[in-house]
Symmetry: C2
Subunit: 137 residues, 2 copies
Amino acid sequence: MKTYTISEVAKELNLTVYTLRYYDKEGLMPFVERTPNGTRRFKESDIDALRIIECLKSTAMPIKEIKNFIDWCSDGDSTLQQRYDMFMDRKAIVEAQIEELKKQMEVIEHKCNYYKTALEAGTEDIHKNDKMVISTT
Amino acid sequence: MKTYTISEVAKELNLTVYTLRYYDKEGLMPFVERTPNGTRRFKESDIDALRIIECLKSTAMPIKEIKNFIDWCSDGDSTLQQRYDMFMDRKAIVEAQIEELKKQMEVIEHKCNYYKTALEAGTEDIHKNDKMVISTT
DNA sequence: TTAATCCTTAGAGTTAACTCTAGGTCAATA
DNA sequence: TATTGACCTAGAGTTAACTCTAAGGATTAA
């Protein structure tokens, strides 16, 4: 079975070897095996697991919470409910994050228009009489 | 003209007084006036500016970059182009953030289904023969 | 065999963004 | 008048997530 070194995995996942070792230190990679002299040997399935870790991280889950999930995975079928609940919770959190960004996007688009108009006029004074309303045109 | 104390503003914006003083220290609030004895007096327009700061912060803009924007605002019409460009850049960044979250959402929903099925079966073994594909059903 | 280039660990250093403490001022109230 | 509870500053402490250094081990290439 093909395996990969830490630097190959780092390159593949766009991480540094430092970061991967840090994750290991934090208990996020208990599944990675070692050669007799201690070198980490990553399997394809380990890289898949790291992709899930990266997915959770990209939704702002703290490393300690990701570790809970990894621990549950090691504990087997008795933790299926926790893992299901965790992903359902995360789904709700990510939905909220998307909604929040969409809300801020409106503010930003408003500002884009504000500065476009000001640029065309050569001065911000053009907006002197604007109502302080952000969600309307 | 009505003004507000730092604790009133903190409550309104769901921040701590520590955070507001920290922002001030970092140069994000050069516009806030003081009473003769040094107490900050926030105007409505100051609170509006803080809302924009919070908007930028919620899209993960570092405080140092937000400070650039605040400095440009103090510099007047000569920086209109920079400010326009900044909001256009931010718009693209937030669009990318939303796309990224939507992509991760698919992974999370896949995992929700995975664990739902496993829970119903009582074991993760039900997925033993699954293809390692995440984007399909 | 010697140099280069991987890999390892322990632990120190960095950065951002707070978060808090100590010591002080000032205005209102018991 | 004394105390309470706002406010202030300077600066120290915290936390998360890296990021790097030092010192050393194994493998390959000349």
